[in-house]
């Protein structure tokens, strides 16, 4: 792992803190997407993603 990250930092100069910020941001965006499709209380969204919710075992009704 240290070897690959060292090589990587030469190719693209991204510091560890920048990588963490990007990773946290991407995860939060992902969670927002999942929340929107799977947990949102908006009725039209619920109806559209209804089968997705049941199939993924999200609490639905």
């Amino acid at each position: 792992m240290p070897v690959t990250s060292a090589k990587h930092s030469i190719a693209t100069p991204v510091t560890l803190s920048q990588r963490v910020v990007i990773a946290v941001g991407a995860s939060l965006l992902g969670l927002c997407l999942v929340y929107f499709a799977g947990f949102s209380h908006i009725e039209a969204v619920h109806n559209a993603a209804h089968d997705t919710r049941h199939s993924a075992a999200f609490p639905c009704h």
Binding site: M1, I22, S27, G30, L33, V34, S55, A57, F58
Partner: protein, 230 residues
């Protein structure tokens, strides 16, 4: 880095969502449709089953847009799958950017972890349910679901990556804790659909989700590694 995460999440999410839709259309959706025939046959019971607060949220369902059965419903389910799959793939790709998988096969392990966090652990308390199943208040169940997924994610991470045994033990406690607290349960367990259908749905849901997660893990790890060489 951002492009790499976005590209990985977009493509692997798309492919895994298509696989999920395919599995759903042949296996899960027919069971949901069958359960809905019981639900529409007993509208009064359905109202009761949703409980006071659940029914309040559902009173508007006649006004809100809803896809018609057939291609509209399949299309909107595909859309829902796509959003969820890209969301999960973004989380996986973000984790890879911090801890790059050495082989594409490592992605299958990440996928299994995702399955454990987002499907297995929550369904231990709140089993996959067909339309028309009695359940506790939606808000409480969603809160328990989110709490369980978070605790399982953190618990697994500590258990796998921590060095000190005490921290590992803390991870194990986090895994068990939500189930000791217990999921919110309805006052009366009842379901409009027959039990055999319910059991079949649980198995169908678990297996399709497991297949989806393993596929998503493998695809995302493969694409993530591939885009570093490009």
């Amino acid at each position: 880095m951002i492009t790499r995460i976005a590209r990985t999440a977009g493509f692997s999410g798309l492919l895994a969502a298509l696989l999920l839709t395919l599995l759903q259309s042949f296996w899960v959706a027919p069971l949901i449709l069958e359960a809905e025939t019981y639900e529409s046959a007993a509208p009064a019971a359905e109202h009761h089953a949703h409980g006071a607060e659940g029914a309040a949220a559902h009173e508007h369902s006649d006004e809100a847009w809803s896809p018609e059965d057939g291609w509209q419903r399949i299309l909107s389910t595909t859309g829902g799958n796509l959003v969820v799959a890209v969301g999960f793939a973004l989380i996986l790709a973000a984790l890879y950017s911090l801890r790059e998988p050495k082989r594409a096969a490592t992605g299958a392990l990440w996928g299994l972890a995702g399955f454990a966090v987002f499907c297995l652990a929550p369904t231990l308390g709140l089993p996959p349910e067909l339309p028309g199943t009695a359940a506790a208040d939606l808000g409480q169940r969603q809160a328990w679901w989110i709490g369980t997924a978070s605790a399982t994610a953190l618990g697994l991470a500590l258990l796998v990556f921590a060095r000190h045994w005490l921290v590992k033990a803390l991870g194990a406690v986090l895994l068990v804790l939500p189930h000791v607290i217990g999921a919110p349960q309805p006052e009366v367990h009842q379901s409009l659909a027959p039990e055999a259908l319910e059991a079949q749905f649980k198995i169908a849901s678990w297996l399709t989700n497991a297949a989806f997660w393993v596929a998503l893990g493998l695809l995302s790890a493969w694409l993530f590694r591939r885009s570093s060489q490009a």
